[in-house]
Amino acid sequence: MSDFENDYRHAKPGQSGPGIVDYLDLETKDQTYLDATELVLNMGPQHPSTHGVLRVILKLDGEKVLGTECVIGYLHRGVEKIAENRTYAMFNPYVDRMDYVAAVSNGLGYCEAVEKLLNAEAPPRAQYIRVILTELCRIASHQVWLGTHALDIGALTPLFYCFRDREEILKIFEKYCGARLTTHAFRIGGCIYEAYDGFEQDCLKFCEHFLPKLNEYEELLTTNRIWVRRTKGVGILKPEDCIALGVTGPVLRASGVKWDLRKAQPYEAYKNFEFEIPTGVNGDTYDRYLVRIEEMRQSVRIIRQAVEGLPTGPIMAKIPKVLKPPVGEIYHSIEAPKGELGYFIVSDGSTQPYRVRVRPPSFVNLQALDKMVRGLLVADVVAVIGTLDIVLGEVDR
């Protein structure tokens, strides 16, 4: 297996493309691909462990994976085309439907991007409420990841413990904005719902109720020899490959790159909270597991600081009822649970955005699947898809 990066690094401008064909093109190859030894296995799109409608074509030599090709687009709903026919406020609910597991952070990204276009700033109280809800949504997203990831590797029970604790978060969302999953909690310019009276107590009760439960997840998995053997050294991604493939989020941090948009380019009220960024050492599935578990603890820390420091005051900035942002374009990105979620919005001065481009973390992280999975076994492909934590609603948009 020729090494990946020295191929493309030395591709001289004249030379046609890198040495190895990175993209596995089955049909148009001249020599027939399917000699006797290879078995082409079609995993998905209705496969129990592909986290939605992802189809992975595996080229197997016995159990070993020679190469993969991801076929996506089964859940493509044309969100960017919808955006061009809706006003800025109307497009807000559609954003929740992309990464439906972490809907709140999608909404936060979109509202902040439009606020940057409008040159408006959410008032401090709204910023704090937004940070609390986004961190709760990060914990909920990591819990769904842990549950399904453990289920793919065979441990049936963590899923139910994760979902029981996630229920508390969904109750807080329901009390706050009326919906559990596609919350549509924020509006452009701040929050529309005032924090309901038991809000602080519920968040604090969740925080100290959740930490011992998190230790139980660790007791079930972290030292379990079968779990360690199934995840250590599987799907290794070196830091320079991560950066080259544009991988972001916990996958990047597990490879040792200490980079988190909440610290690198702080947005909202993240600058006045202190929390660490957990990083891994050798970038395998076990490190990604540890990084995400530690991230949940850091989120609890942030929520505690935010709830204590919740300022009083208005929750909605002064913006016109009919939004007509000035002509121009901006790119704004936030640290979603899966990685860097970016919005590139071009406005032509009318009430409807001229172009909204969403940079989804899962779409770019999924590209790294082929590099991580070469030479592993079929059972590991399932573990690697789980550790990438992709959500197909976001991959296909």
Partner: protein, 429 residues
């Protein structure tokens, strides 16, 4: 004709030994029905216990607390259409489940539920059980091969490799136990009833014999038996996440339920081997330490006691059932079930019955404990990858098995070795 029937009742030998074919068939029928009942109970227990471990309630709708769920499943499987894939190998496809179920049931021929409660007492009992249970692999390969599609093929190849490699570890552990039977009498025995009697003579269960070794052999067997039946951490062949459903993907309806039946029967068989060899088969705990008449009497009440406890649980459940019209039938059903259990408990109190049922009860309780272990493993452990599974089998269990075997042999021969060494050194004449 009549005395042919009655004279067996006076002899205290197994029907096979006593040569009365009639009673042997009756025993076989009892065992087959017993196993099916056990599988039905196991189906319900597995779903409920696994559910409660996962903080959910499990089946609650079909009958009170889901008690009729196994019957509903069985009915569904019988009614469901039995599809044979179109270019599957018809004969092999049809016969695979038959082979698997046949092997699973024949192993119960030699399982000793009591001193004389076994279909027959072969002198090569344990060897027979191992041989027949390894035939099950053949059925699985036939099933995988004849379904003519990727996933079953990979599933069946995997499970055959797994079973073969864990049978060796099982064999070694069993040889250690058989070695221990020869300590007192000088000649070991392969017959299951003989092994239990050897434990009775040596007045200790083999699990506690020569402390670390007996337990180690038992531990090796416990791990190997879980792998043998493709369960819990080793359930790779039907790992849902990769191979969709392993070797029985293409089966449906009654044929699939045969596989299901065979899997549970194999679990029961392998646990009964473990119970017979290491946990003293039908012997009640502390047979000689607490052997006074009073203790004997006290222990003999245990069967009735457990049934009364179960009946109490059912009645408690019925009382706590919500008082709404839809639930009326379910409460009635549960109370009836509770009363039935109570009645059986009463029957077991009768002195005549109490002695006879003693052995069977203790054997069944020990096997039930193993069944609970299976479910507990399934609820907790992730799944081994295939190569790791083979590594554990070959690189961990096999060497320790050999080590334990050699150590048991040395320990057993210690008196002779020391005397011959002493004679060699001239200490003894």
């Amino acid at each position: 004709m009549l005395d042919a029937i009655t004279n067996y009742l006076h002899s205290n030998a197994t029907p096979g030994e006593a040569g009365s074919m009639l009673w042997a068939t009756i025993y076989i029928l009892i065992i087959v029905i017993g196993i099916s009942l056990a599988v039905i109970a196991m189906n319900w227990l597995e779903r409920k216990i696994l559910a409660h471990m996962q903080i959910r309630l499990g089946p609650m709708r079909v009958g009170p607390h889901g008690l009729l769920q196994p019957f509903a499943d069985a009915l569904k499987l019988l009614i469901k259409e039995d599809i044979i894939p179109e270019n599957a190998d018809k004969l092999v496809f049809w016969s695979a489940p038959v082979v698997v179920t046949m092997t699973a049931f024949t192993t119960f021929l030699v399982v000793p539920f009591g001193r004389e409660h076994a279909v027959t007492d072969m002198n090569i009992g344990i060897l027979f059980m191992l041989g027949v249970s390894s035939l099950g692999v053949l059925g699985i390969i036939m099933a995988g091969w004849s379904s003519n599609s990727h996933y079953p093929l990979m599933g069946s190849l995997r499970s055959s490799a797994q079973m073969v490699s864990y049978e060796i570890a099982m064999g070694l552990a069993i040889v250690c136990a058989v070695l221990m039977t020869s300590l007192q009498t000088g000649t070991g025995t392969l017959s299951m009833i003989g092994i239990v009697e050897a434990q009775a003579q040596q007045q200790t269960w083999f699990i506690f014999k020569m402390f670390p070794l007996g337990f180690l052999a038992f531990a090796i067997f416990a791990i190997a038996m879980v792998a043998e039946t493709n369960r819990a951490p080793f359930d790779l062949p039907e790992a849902e996440s990769e191979l969709v459903a392993g070797f029985h993907t293409e089966y449906s309806g009654f044929r699939w339920s045969l596989f299901f039946l065979a899997e549970y029967a194999a679990m029961l068989a392998v646990s009964s081997i473990a119970v017979t060899l290491w946990l003293g088969g039908w012997m009640r705990p502390f047979p000689n330490w607490l052997n006074g008449g009073a203790w004997g009497l006290a222990f003999s009440f245990f069967p009735a006691l457990t049934l009364f406890v179960l009946a109490g649980l059912c009645l408690l459940g019925a009382v706590r059932m919500p008082k709404i019209p839809q639930m009326k039938i379910q409460t009635a059903g549960l109370t009836m079930f509770g009363l039935l259990l109570g009645f059986i408990g009463l029957v077991l109190l009768a002195p005549g019955v109490r002695e006879r049922v003693q052995d069977i009860y203790w054997f069944v309780v020990k096997v039930a404990f193993f069944m609970y272990l299976y479910i507990w493993y399934r609820g907790t452990f992730p799944r081994y990858r295939f190569d790791q599974l083979m590594k554990v089998g070959w690189k961990v269990l096999l060497p320790t098995g050999l080590g334990v075997l050699i150590a048991t042999a040395l320990w057993g021969l210690m008196p002779q070795i020391s005397s011959s060494v002493a004679r060699g050194l001239g200490v003894l004449p």
